[in-house]
Amino acid sequence: MDSSFKSTTLISIFLLFFCNAIPSIAFGSSSTATTMHTNNWAVLVCTSRFWFNYRHMANTLSLYRTVKRLGIPDERIILMLADDMACNARNKYPAQVFNNENHRLNLYGDNVEVDYRGYEVTVENFLRVLTGRHETAVPRSKRLLSDEGSHILLYMTGHGGDEFLKFQDSEELQSHDLADAVKQMKEKRRFKELLIMVDTCQASTLFSQLQSPGVLAIGSSMKGENSYSHHLDSDVGVSVVDRFTFYTLAFFERLNMYDNASLSSLFNSYNSNLLMSTAYYRTDLYGRLLEEVPVTNFFGSVMETIHTDSPYRAFSVKYSKSKAEISLDQSDEVEQRRLKISDVPQELIDSNITDKHATCPVTRIWNAILGRIEMMKELDSLVNYGLILMFLIVTGSSWFSS
């Protein structure tokens, strides 16, 4: 009798563990140090639709305009927008999208090439763009054709939360999906370096599961914080830009193609009092120092150029011997822009979260429990133990109740 009980327990344990998918954590090693940086790509995603999310589309279009102005061509920008603002019936300024109440800049003016619009902006399409698994008929303009020398800027804005990002009010992108897609991109060497900028509520949780090297990520707020819009345009009737993007654009409006401001100056320009949230960035997966990386490495267009020393004179009849006197120091000019600043790196995490307002004991205990759970790393095994325990309790209770 006892043995049969034990066997039941064993079978249940076996069943539960058998149904756990064992994730594979091995990823291939790639030598990014030796590859040359050949081009820049930008993937700009606006995940909201409907009129009251005007500011998200304005965010994305402002960043699109910035990267185009700094030199990335349309063929290397993937723009995903719901695109229902400019011709919306509620838009008082038809075919115009502004990001400031002074209406100085019409973002939808000319030369806007939207690659995925309307209902095509889905989690599946987004992950297909990142991993490169398209149907054969998808045109080149909708594909991310990066190679192992590409630097990719990935900008996402919309409504988000703890470890997720909401897509078009109907589905969600989980942080582990994003981490998985980035891992596959790294294995297939689809990028040399990746900069992820997220402007949503609790943005920094979205890239918490990333583990691939060569990735730099910045989010507009930390876990538990909201990201706020900048100002309301009373003429248009909705908020027109978010704070994080507003200050990012303010930084870039001062730059042109030839400038070499560094990424650390961009990241340090965010003031948490003005943002009303803490802009958190993670550099643990990124190998280089932020002071040495110019912003044009991600936001502008870089072309490594090599001068052509001489033509290949195969197509004329005579071979001339005078070619032997060509001076030999004309070979291999490689242009690179490097910035060397010897500043001490500064971290942006300056908010100390103390529970000043947890005077009620129940709340305090609950917060303590939550904090304890946060610290535990193996949540999966805890859940498994809980399930087994539950099963045993049910078995035992129904046995003894009869």
């Binding site: 009798m1 039941t8 149904c19 998918a21 594979s24 990823f27 291939g28 030796t34 590859t35 040359m36 050949t38 081009n39 349309d74 063929e75 992950l127 297909r128 698994r133 398209h134 054969t136 998808v138 045109p139 594909r143 190679d147 020398g149 999906d177 998985d180 596959q184 294995e187 297939k188 060497r189 193609m257 030839y258 267009s301 072309m303 490594e304 150029t305 090599i306 001068h307 052509t308 020393d309 001489s310 033509p311 290949y312 004179r313 195969a314 197509f315 005579k318 070619k323 060509i326 030999l328 120091d329 004309q330 070979s331 000019e333 242009e335 822009r337 049910v394 129904s398 046995w399 009869s402």
Partner: protein
Amino acid sequence: MAEISEAPSTLDPDFDQENMRKSKPGLKRLTLSLAVLFSFLLGLPFLLKSIEIYRSPLPFREIDDLSTAFESSPILFPCHFRAVFVNFDPNSYTADQLSISVQAHMAKFAAKNSLACGTCASNVTVSVTLDSNSNCISNGNNVDWKCGALNEFKFAEKHEDGLLDEYLASLCDNNSGAKVYTVVVVKTEQEEVRAVVGKYRHAWIMGRIFEEEAIEKIAEIFVNVFVNGGKEEGLIHGEFMPLGADGRIVLSFNLLNADPHNWIYDWDFQEIDENLLSPVIDALKPLADVSVESQVLYHTPKSSFSFWDDRLDSYIFSTKDLPFFVNSNEWHLDTSVAAGGLSKILQFVVYVPSAKECPLQLQLPNGEISTTNGFISPMWGGIVVWNPSACLMDSKIKHPLRYKISSEDSRKLFEVFMGQLRQLFGLKSDGLFVGASGTSILLASERGFSEWELDVLSRQHSCFNLLQCGTTLGSLSRLVQSLPRMIIMDDIGKQVKYSLEAARLTLSNASLGIYDASAESSRQARLLAEDAFYHPSMMSVSYYSFEHCFAVYSPFFLPVLLHVLLAVLREWKRYKQESKKYYAWKAKVK
């Protein structure tokens, strides 16, 4: 629980009601509960079959073996070398001594590389032939050198290098089997020593030269020219392999008129394509499937700035402006409709400046003016600035005239493009090799690439493609194993199988030394591996994970299963108890 037992008529002191019973316990309840459990378990295979997904079986073990094999041991090719000494004294050195000496020098040059992937295997044998007026001595078994063949050739007279090249090609040409790299050293009375590498697989050194110097030069030509392709290091980096994942390259030729208000230029691209470009495409056939497009664009100014220089009498832009030259907003170059999703497009641009910036010259950092006026960007393409002759005229015509670029100018432009294409593939555009022991002239071929250069490219591309194939298949197998509930279609299984076959074929071709066939099959292997990896059905977001499946089905079956099992156990326990009671009574009665 109703138990059928006889009510005792008298209280038998031996009969213990608790521990004995007079009748055998019934089996009905036990069989009933067992039957329910059994039918439940019988349905389990049907349930599993209904939620089964189709996964085409992939050879994971083979994939792992292959990818580790590629990464651990670099793929090396067998190469054959031959040195011919003409008009040398056969008594001073024997052929064996010369051979050993050449091999030693080659090992010294090759040691710097430490056996990069795609180079020649380290155990090379050099066969040496001494051809003098009297006789021909050689070491090594296969002697293919026609003795005295060069006697008719009068070296004292000035000959075209091309003629000598063709003559040597006819001598050395043996299509049977492996390819041999030959260096012919001819001792003449000329003071100046000239080293020339031909378009095929041979080179020659002429002049008043002694054996030691000759050996040094021969070894350097063998290692740094024939094996490494004219460079010191043998490995070509990834940014100089502009190959699409489907093995296709599209060459897009664009003629850009910056300001059509001044002049409009057109070109006869058909002629260039037929006469000049098709041999090049033919030469590149084992490496890639090349297709060509061309277009003429108007109103395409550049986005960098230039300044007028009085001394040079032209507008100057420097190498610092080169990264900003391409104006991506106005230059709509990527309009190819023929290129598939995985092909690589290389852009070749002829920029005709406007009258405001004409003539436009490129100034190098050392102050000199560039002779080609062109530059490349790796993995993107190349640009040449061509100043029209109408530039120097002062007329202001209301309606701009349409001109056509003359065929002579087109030819010159094409020569620069050819140099740029070679640079994009990692070779040099000029015709000189500067080594430790002197400078050699590299002859140019009408096919754009010499035979030995194509060999180098084939070897490097085979190596690169096989490594890519190995890593792709490895990533694929890891991905498939991490998602046990993802459907793997038959297509993917077949592509993986054919890719592995092509990879094995490449390895066998490489061991035999057939460079172009191994490049071809390595390209096929990579193409199939990439197609399998990028199959659109393998999106993890579309499939349930195992936990999801468990969570969906368990609320239906687990509670019922639990109760059925418990019922069976309870009945079994009861049966055991009752039969123990019965046997106790039986023993007592006896």
